[in-house]
């Protein structure tokens, strides 16, 4: 069984082909990295996978079920969780309430104790009663990551979840990802930080201009000329 099977997925905005025919598979318990230059369609791909925006064409299978064109909340209920590149905190709620709100469609009775665990694990217990609107960008990303965990999804999409997060908290996030993987979770991770990609991703998908230009291990990616041209060769932005 594959966790995710994507076939010839396309989406354009006006004239821009943001995702231009993408196909790949992700196995259960895999951690797959997605890299590519700015505007290469990584976040759009996540939006398609999670049902946040509908694809122009192509199919998406989640845990062997066709979920193409299903609304985002159904896809979420079938086991997909995601974070957004631009954090989406519930700004009129506290940090703790944000976590509780993430559990409303799941196991509610244990939600409070699980929220405390997540707060502790992400080391944000001290700001649990602060309004989410008062958090720094890095803290909002942590909260975004915390919310996903409240739902216990099988497949987790992380969109630059460590950007703007200090090195120590980044280690905490990495530890959490590994923990969850051991418990059977599958990850798809968009990252600009190559060191991080190298340490956690077993396989890497390289995108450029809406297409997958290469797939392989970090070493293979680093050796590949097309990738270096498209991405690694350019100065980091």
């Amino acid at each position: 069984m594959s966790a995710l099977a994507v076939s010839d997925l396309k989406r354009s905005f006006g004239g821009i082909k943001a995702v231009a025919g993408v196909s790949f598979d992700v196995g259960v318990k895999e951690i797959v990295g997605i890299i590519g230059p700015n505007g290469s369609g990584k976040s759009t791909l996540f939006n398609l996978l999670s049902g946040t925006i509908p694809p122009s064409s192509g199919t998406i299978r989640l845990l062997d079920k066709d979920v193409t064109h299903q609304p985002a909340y159904r896809i979420a209920r079938q086991g997909l969780g995601r974070t957004f590149q631009i954090p989406t905190p519930f700004i009129n709620m506290t940090v703790r309430e944000n976590l509780l709100a993430a559990a409303v469609e799941g196991e509610w009775r244990s939600a409070r104790s699980r929220a405390e665990e997540v707060l502790a694990a992400l080391e944000i217990s001290h700001i649990a009663d602060d309004l989410a609107s008062t958090l720094s960008g890095g803290q909002q990303r942590l909260l975004e990551f915390g919310r996903v965990q409240m739902r216990d999804p099988q497949i987790i999409l992380l969109d630059e979840v460590t950007a703007g997060v200090n090195p120590r908290l980044r280690q905490i996030i990495l530890g959490r990802v590994r923990d969850l993987q051991e418990r059977g979770k599958t990850f798809l991770v968009i990252e600009h930080d190559m060191e991080l990609v190298r340490t956690i991703c077993e396989r890497i998908i390289v995108m450029d201009a809406g297409e997958i230009v290469f797939e392989g291990t970090f070493e293979e990616v680093a050796r590949n000329e097309r990738v270096v041209d498209a991405y690694l060769g350019r100065p980091e932005t």
Partner: protein, 342 residues
Amino acid sequence: MRAGGANSARLTARSVIPLVVVVVFLATLPLWVDDYWVRVWTGVAMWAGLAASWNIIGGYAGYISFGHVAFFGIGAYATAILMQPGLDWNFFLTLPVGAVVAGVFAFIVGWPTLRLRGAYFAIATWALAEALAQLVNTVDFTGGSFGLSTPGNAETGFFYYAMLIASALIYLIIFAVFERSRFGYKVKAVRDNEAAAQSLGINTTSVKLQAFVMSAALPAVLGGINAYWITFINPQSVLAGDITDQMVVMALVGGLGHLWGPAIGATVLYLSSTWLNAHFGSSTGYIAMIGALLALIVLFLPDGLVGLMPRARNMRLVRQMLRLPDRRADPGPDPDTSRERS
């Protein structure tokens, strides 16, 4: 800023004492004030309940209804029609009928519009109220523009307690549902970020629809009590647009999306309009006061009068609603920094 404390037991005691004072004051009122003041406070209770019901969709769900008077009017007409000679329904039995009819209308209007942006919903609700007023004006069984009278009941005390109990129940329902339950979290999550709510498995359209139906059914009950109280209703008295305006303004002045906001707004505004009317005999002063208050609120006290209380939650609803730029710094994405900002 903190929005809830570790020392919650002490806090509860501190907030329960004023509540007990208010409850005792309201429950014994007819025993020690004259009829005039009983009527004034009946009005306060009614407006508190109406503004609180509006706050469900406007404050908790974040969709502005500009036609809420429709539901108040539906309740009023349901009671008046069912109590007409020949039908002779028991007054209390008419109230749930009005609530159900209002809920059905809300469902019909909300179904297509609540999946769109707020402007469509605002226009649709406004159109509903207008259409309903026209309809009531023309058909027979509503008495057309002449209106309907309800069987008299001279007892001010009865209406005072009926209104008070209905409003208190509305408050209790709102408290239980929006401040305490899983459904409340869903509604607020949808309001604060719809895409995020969906990504967490929340069926946002359905949640908004449920909230709107609730927000519509409750004022219908107050409309029914009001119809019986004022003994005569017509489209000008129970379907007038300024009834909606009052609900909106009271919720805004008191505190949009806050539990106690509408009650505070209704008390302050209804009492001042009564006072202005008694002393100056016209509503011009009241309208000027409302204008000034609203401007002050939007600029300086976005959480309404509730914002003056210590430890009040600092929300951004008014600014979100008006799409004003936020004066507080927006963290936003900072992908280029590897260090946390603070």
